[in-house]
């Protein structure tokens, strides 16, 4: 993918300087996107509107000077890099500016080449810093509310399974229910967990429709045919050794989307058939006996399907597969490591960072001592 151009803001009270920037960087507009401002205040105003990657400001200006821009600008945009332009007379102050957090400075007058080299080195430094941070902290994959909903789902699902499965194997579980009324409690806990699941479902529907985070994720997870099918097919072929490279997935791979909608479908089915059985006396007033029997069959077999899918498929794909074995921490922290992001969700990486996944993928090798994720093992192109 093409790298997104670096967004630069140039602040100088001399129009000649601003024009020369525009002239120098216009042929390089694929790499650098230049905006200019004639004063410190104007520059800050622009900075408030747009999250520039880089701000290059003159030190000596009437009104708000370079140091002022630096000080206030860092407060507005802590993630932006700042560089200073200095005249001969103000080198000392430029050095002082470095102490205030400026990345570098360039002395006027400078040639075109010098300027381009300077800006490129700033871009390099910025990129290294960002990469280091990504390697240490990864990216946010799930927000706190999403993590909470997931944990509640784990709890209700587990309780439902534990209280439901004994009905399949009553001989085996007879000893577990060793006190009076324990069978009654089993039934009661099953119904309470079911109600919990219903509340979670309603909350989740509200979340994905009414919150920004929810909306964003909903759009990401909705299927897009034929793209998802192609990705699925490619994935299967890759796993079976019929294809050399893994197809690229966005935030949610095909199998993840499938799992999500499996949960949606499964919950719906289980809740509805469960309610039919819970209120069978009322249901049988209006429905034939076979309807009730259908509910029983569906409830039973859907439960088997769901439990097996979670125990086998979900556990493998999330926790047990190579790279994250024995457990992925994403369900606890909500953060995904850089390497896993590049490996599993390269399109999402590109969307978030504006950088190419292919370019960075190979570059996260074993010599990269900063990498905290286990995905980067020796050997094996990923």
């Amino acid at each position: 993918m093409a790298q997104a151009p670096l967004k630069m803001l140039v602040i100088d009270d001399e129009p000649i300087i601003l024009e020369s920037y525009l002239k120098v960087f216009s042929p390089l507009r694929a790499e650098f996107d230049v905006t200019t401002a004639p004063s410190g205040e104007a520059g800050l105003a622009k900075l408030r509107e747009t999250p520039f990657d880089l701000v290059i400001t003159d030190l000596k200006m009437p009104g708000l000077d370079g140091l002022g821009v630096l000080e206030q600008g860092r407060k507005i945009r802590p993630d932006t890099d700042f560089a200073m332009m200095t005249g001969y007379a103000s080198v000392d102050s430029a050095v002082g500016a470095m102490k205030f957090g400026a990345t570098d400075f360039i002395e006027k007058p400078f040639s075109q080449d010098e300027l381009v080299r300077f800006v490129r080195s700033l871009a390099e430094l910025r990129f290294s810093r960002i990469r280091k941070r990504e390697e240490e902290a990864g990216f946010e994959r799930f927000s706190r509310p999403m993590l909470t909903q997931h944990i509640v789902l784990i709890l209700t699902f587990t309780l439902l399974s534990i209280t439901g499965v004994p009905l399949f194997f009553p001989e085996t579980f007879k000893g577990v229910f060793f006190f009076d009324d324990s069978s009654y409690l089993r039934g009661l806990m099953h119904r309470i967990s079911a109600v919990g699941l219903m509340f979670l479902s309603f909350y989740h529907i509200g979340y994905i429709l009414l919150t920004e985070d929810g909306n964003k994720n909903l759009r990401a997870i909705l299927p897009s045919i034929p793209k998802d099918l192609k990705e699925a097919g490619g994935n299967i072929m890759f796993t079976f050794g019929l294809r050399k490279d893994r197809p690229k997935a966005g935030k949610y791979s095909f199998f993840e989307k499938f799992e999500y909608f499996g949960v949606v479908w499964g919950s719906l089915v289980m809740v509805l058939t469960g309610l039919v059985m819970w209120f069978k006396d009322q249901v049988l007033l209006i429905a034939p006996l076979w309807f009730f029997d259908v509910a029983k069959v569906v409830h039973r077999y859907e439960a088997i399907l769901a439990i097996l899918t979670i125990a086998i498929w979900h556990m493998y794909n999330v926790h047990l597969k190579a790279g994250v074995f024995p457990m992925s921490r994403i369900w606890l922290t909500g953060r995904i490591s850089r390497a896993e992001m590049l490996h599993e969700h390269p399109l999402e990486f590109e969307a978030l960072t504006g950088r190419s996944a292919d370019a960075e993928h190979g570059a996260g090798g074993p010599d990269d001592g900063k990498s905290e994720d286990r995905a980067t093992r020796q050997g094996g192109a990923k």
């Binding site: 009076d180 089993r186 069978k280 076979w290 069959v297 097996l308 190579a322 020796q378 050997g379």
Partner: protein
């Protein structure tokens, strides 16, 4: 006469002791020849009496008196109580006591010169029975034909084992060992003693009786009408369980035996689908003991009972799962398994006591075929039957017309069956795919690792 050790012993005793003994005995024996030559006397424990005393053994009982000439006066009456003092107290309160002119005297039962020790000889049971039977001839006749009476060994029960010996009391007397409330202990004295060589199952059965509802009623509640051993097994006429049709506890007789007290239940039973064939002589049908057992009968509220709610299905299953029974009588198959697969059955197996068991719907004694208008499973009565637990209004047609026992797959409505098949297919296919994919993924990773190790970098 047979040589016996007693003879030799007596000879030694006679020789070993002093003249006064010998002389006294010799004096009596001079005339009373018959007595002294009896092996019985010589074997008797009374022979030892009067050792070292003037007068020897004869005078020990008959007392000292002048034997100077042939026609000595009648000796004083022999009084056993002089030595056997404790017995007098027992005898005086017993039914054979002082006031009873027909009662036996000591010698009537124990003999005179042939008194023997308690454990001394064979056929104790018959000897004692014969003694008692001298007056109680009717009972003797019955006893002789009974299992106890016919038994060839000494350890078997005889009159005194149950009724007591010196302290025999009327059965109606609360102190009597055969008073209704004490009666079971009389049998238990022997029948819970493992040393006697009884079948251990029988021993534990008798012990179980005391924990059963009949046993507890008798021993704890003092309920006179509760069944004790003799109500079912007989008393003088006790016969072995397997002895033919006359026996009160043979299969054909059980409803009658239990019906002596539980008349109402037996009447209902005899009109039921089990009882009617029984009246026609069919012994394949269950009788009382098939469901309730015999010595372990407990209230169906007791979790140890064979008829406790969670045990009922197993009890019915005993016959209703056997191919020969099912085939012979055209009983619809798989009734009990379909129950066990249903929610009622699964929950019951888990120990839930609230759910329906076989008897909840089919009744227990009043089981009738569903075509019978009085049957609890007749469609017209279904809403009342199901309504015992569920809030069923008469509008709940599905329960009235639906097939309750049909298995999920077979004679159910076709829709659930199809869905079940589809789901099974789906689960198998899905899991098959998952496992294949996972295995391939693992293989791929292993290969990658291996080639990576060899190749070095990426």
């Amino acid at each position: 006469m047979k040589a016996n050790p007693g003879f030799g012993l007596c000879a030694v005793v006679v020789l070993a002791f002093s003249a006064p003994f010998t002389v006294a005995a010799a004096e009596c024996i001079d005339c009373h020849d018959g007595v002294s030559s009896g092996a019985a006397l010589k074997a008797s424990p009374h022979m030892k009496l009067g050792e070292g005393k003037a007068g020897g053994s004869c005078v020990a009982c008959h007392g000292e008196f002048d034997v100077s000439d042939d026609g000595h006066a009648k000796p004083p009456k022999v009084n056993c109580v002089k030595c056997h003092g404790a017995v007098e107290a027992q005898m005086s309160i017993s039914v054979h006591g002082a006031g009873n002119v027909d009662a036996p005297k000591c010698v009537d039962c124990h003999g005179t010169h042939d008194v023997v020790r308690k454990g001394a000889n064979h056929n104790r049971n018959q000897r004692i029975a014969a003694q008692c039977g001298a007056c109680h001839d009717k009972e003797l006749g019955i006893y002789t034909n009974s299992w106890h009476g016919k038994a060839p060994n000494d350890k078997v029960a005889t009159c005194s084992d149950c009724h007591g010996a010196h302290d025999v009391l009327r059965p109606a007397d609360p102190q009597s060992t055969v008073f209704r409330l004490n009666q079971a202990q009389a049998c238990a004295k022997c029948h819970t003693d493992e040393e006697r060589g009884f079948n251990p199952a029988m021993v534990s059965a008798v012990k179980d009786y005391f924990g059963s509802i009949h046993g507890l009623a008798v021993t704890k509640a003092g309920l006179m009408v509760s069944a004790t051993c003799i109500d079912c097994h007989g008393s003088h006429d006790v016969t072995h369980g397997r002895d033919g049709g006359k026996n009160r506890i043979s299969r054909a007789k059980i409803p009658e035996t239990c019906g002596k007290c539980h008349a109402g239940v037996v009447k209902v039973y005899l009109e039921s689908v089990h009882g009617k064939p029984f009246l026609d002589g069919n012994l394949d049908v269950p009788v009382c003991t098939d469901c309730h057992r015999s010595h372990q009968i407990r209230s169906h509220f007791d979790s140890g009972a064979a008829t406790y709610t969670t045990h009922v299905a197993a009890t019915c299953l005993k016959c209703h799962s056997q191919a020969n029974v099912v085939n012979k009588y055209g009983i619809p198959e798989a009734r009990v398994p379909t129950y066990l697969e249903s929610y009622h059955g699964a929950a019951s197996k888990l120990g839930d006591t609230r759910v329906a068991n076989c008897a909840s719907c089919h009744e227990s004694h009043d089981i009738r075929a569903s075509a019978d208008p009085k049957s609890s499973t007749n469609p017209a009565n279904m809403s009342k039957t199901c309504g015992k637990c569920h809030s069923v209004q008469d509008r709940a047609k599905p329960l009235i017309t639906g097939k309750i026992h049909a298995t999920l797959a077979e004679d159910r409505h076709w829709v659930p069956g199809i869905i079940e098949k589809l789901y099974t297919l789906l689960i198998v296919a899905t899991m098959g795919f998952f496992l294949t994919y996972i295995i391939m993924d693992i293989i791929r990773n292993v290969r990658l690792r291996r080639s990576g190790k060899k190749g070095g970098g990426h």
